[in-house]
């Protein structure tokens, strides 16, 4: 059975945008005519999607430690898909999306060495012989990252883990969707009751309406928001080539290098539907992580603070629901694993449409 020829997608975040683009790209490659329209409740100029706030790491090893084996398997699949997809997207983009797959480093303050041991032990428990993490001495760490503080006696290298420039990705995706004939309707809120409706639009014209609203779907699905806070800093003094994770007994934080000498530091994880501004407590935790990696971060400039909600089901696992009779489907619950899981889920969803 072919993919429906007209598809409406609610939510222009990562899942909605990536799905719209893949459906259009697939149609073009197959010489098919396909109508794909994205409905976003806010303006793309002021993005509120978690996709905008995220650090955009694709880190299956790091994440399996705090989740389940299935997350690793889906993440490995995404790690294979991202370079292919970005290569296609970048061919048509003035500014390509930067993609770094040099792996992640995991370190801990010498007084918190046991946290690093625990991380290594948990990784081994989940992956056994598939565990590709390797120990690095302090010297080897600094060979890879000369700007890392001298205090780290050792660390772990998680090879192949990646991160990408998500803000450029979202811009390029939206441009490519339009270039391929798709439409993006801003300030257009789609709802599912359970049939899809949107003021000013006749959605009955679409054979399939996909709900990719993330926490926006909380009214109609059992999705909750989990608060995350991040900090952006800028400094020309420090260069990092890897995403660096800092293990700490009370919080696990990461620092990911971004374009223009900037870095994103994140993320808190608070079981709350609260999207109000970053708290002082969280700011202190995030800054303290930065300072631990290199005291020169003390003179970095804070350029952005952001708080957002991760869409999550009770088990913190993603889910795809498809109701062909109603002409609706949903992809949600990517929790803190948006960039890690989205390509796998979207590829799986498109395959399921083809074989339905």
């Amino acid at each position: 059975m072919p993919i429906p020829s007209s598809i409406a997608i609610a939510g222009a975040g990562l899942v909605g945008s990536l799905l719209a683009w893949r459906l259009l790209e697939d149609a073009q490659q197959s010489g098919l005519k396909r109508r794909v329209e994205l409905f976003e409740k806010s303006s793309l100029k002021y993005p509120r999607a978690a996709a905008h706030t995220a650090a955009a790491m694709i880190s299956p090893l790091s994440e399996v430690v705090v989740s389940e084996r299935a997350i690793y398997d889906m993440g490995i699949c995404s790690l294979g898909l991202w370079p292919q997809w970005l290569s296609t997207l970048n061919k048509h983009s003035a500014t390509p999306v930067a993609y770094n797959n040099q792996g992640s480093l995991v370190v801990a303050h010498p007084s918190d060495e046991s946290e690093l041991e625990q991380f290594a032990q948990d990784l081994h428990f989940h992956l056994q012989h598939e565990n590709t993490a390797t120990w690095l001495t302090g010297h080897e760490l600094r060979q890879r990252e000369p700007d890392l503080s001298q205090q780290f006696n050792r660390g772990l290298l998680l090879p192949d883990e990646a991160f990408l420039d998500n803000r450029q990705l979202m811009i390029n995706l939206h441009q490519r969707i339009v270039a391929l004939g798709g439409k993006i309707h801003e300030n257009a809120e789609m709802q599912f009751q359970p049939q899809a409706v949107c003021d000013g639009f006749d959605l009955s014209r679409f054979a399939l309406c996909v709900d990719a609203r993330g926490v926006g779907a909380a009214q109609s699905q059992a999705v909750r928001g989990v608060r995350g806070e991040v900090l952006w800093v800028q400094t020309p003094e420090i260069k990092l080539q890897h995403a660096v994770r800092l293990m700490h007994p009370r919080y696990k934080l990461y620092i990911v290098p971004k374009p223009n000498n900037s870095f994103i530091v994140g993320a808190t994880e608070i079981e709350s539907q609260d999207s109000s501004p970053v708290s002082v407590q969280s700011m202190m935790e995030l800054c303290s992580a930065l300072y631990t990696l290199n005291p020169a971060f003390a003179e970095a400039r804070i350029i952005e603070l952001d708080a957002n909600l991760r869409p999550s089901y009770l088990n913190n696992m993603p889910a795809i629901h498809h109701q062909p009779q109603q002409g609706t489907a949903s992809i949600n619950g990517l929790y803190r694993h948006g960039y890690l899981l989205a390509p796998h889920l979207i590829a799986q969803f498109i395959d399921s449409l083809k074989s339905a």
Binding site: S67, P249, R250, E271, S272, Q273, D274, S312, N315, N316
Partner: protein, 261 residues
């Protein structure tokens, strides 16, 4: 295992479990179920309780059917703790409160002064206070003086998994406060440590990290539940006193001498 009573309520399980730090709410719910505990603690300090933004996780915790014991984790003064306790009472409709007033940022040691001050105020306001305290006898006595009917001395600093660090102090507490329900709260990392606390005659054990951070939390919850039950059963059935001289459990009279090697 005998039941125990806290502030007039009787519970079958002597295992109190924390609901933070799990990989997902589902993992927490599964662990509570595996632990077969009757009381769970929950913190709301960082969940923007004024706006009730933690509803999703609070509902999951409520649905376990356990008695809720909200805590004041993260509070560093009596005033903060009292305010948070009032919010907890409003949100969860319970006047039970696990009182935490932290005196040191590094080891999260309870502040004895703030604790007594907050306990006195909360009891005046009608709360049933379960204070997380050190193992200091004088502090425990002051907490009883201001009206606490249950005490929760630490085994070790929160989240360290160090076990019972000061057995002398803990034994003293048990001996000097024989009728006060005493629950070992925090610092336990292994079921054997929980079992030891129960063998010493403590009335219950409260923990969180050792279960939540286990690679398989529900299985670890079950392990702790078994250890706590074993420790209590051992205490109730009377542990033998250690002695120096060996005493055979099988009489040797009548045993032919050539069997001996």
């Amino acid at each position: 295992m005998s039941a125990f009573t806290l502030y007039g309520q009787t519970f079958n399980s002597r295992f109190l479990l924390g609901t933070a730090l799990y990989s997902s709410p589902q993992a927490m719910v599964d662990s509570v179920k595996a632990a077969q505990c009757n009381i769970v603690t929950l913190g709301l300090r960082r969940q923007n309780p004024q706006e009730k933004d933690g509803q999703a996780i609070w509902s999951a915790i409520r649905d376990t059917g356990c008695t809720l014991l909200p805590n004041t984790a993260g509070c560093k003064s009596a005033k903060e703790a009292v305010n948070l306790a009032e919010m907890s009472r409003e949100i969860f409709n319970t006047s039970w409160i696990k009182l935490e007033v932290i005196g040191d940022d590094y080891n999260l040691q309870p502040c004895p002064f703030g604790l007594v001050e907050a306990a006195e105020e909360l009891i005046k306001r009608g709360f049933q206070v379960l204070p997380y305290c050190t193992d200091d006898l004088a502090v425990c006595q002051r907490l009883l003086d201001v009206g606490c009917q249950v005490l929760m001395p630490w085994g070790a600093p929160i989240g360290t998994g160090q076990g019972l660090l000061n057995r002398y102090n803990l034994r003293t507490l048990r001996e000097r406060l024989p009728t006060t329900p005493l629950i070992i709260d925090a610092g336990l990392g292994a079921p054997s440590q929980a079992c030891e606390a129960m063998e010493m005659g403590f009335d219950g054990v409260l923990l969180n990290t050792a279960v939540a951070k286990a690679q398989q939390p529900p299985i670890m919850a079950k392990a702790f539940a078994s250890a706590i039950a074993a420790g209590r059963a051992a205490y109730e059935s009377g542990l033998m006193v250690k002695r120096q001289t060996a005493s055979p459990s099988t009489p040797t009279i009548g045993q032919p001498f050539w069997h001996q090697k």
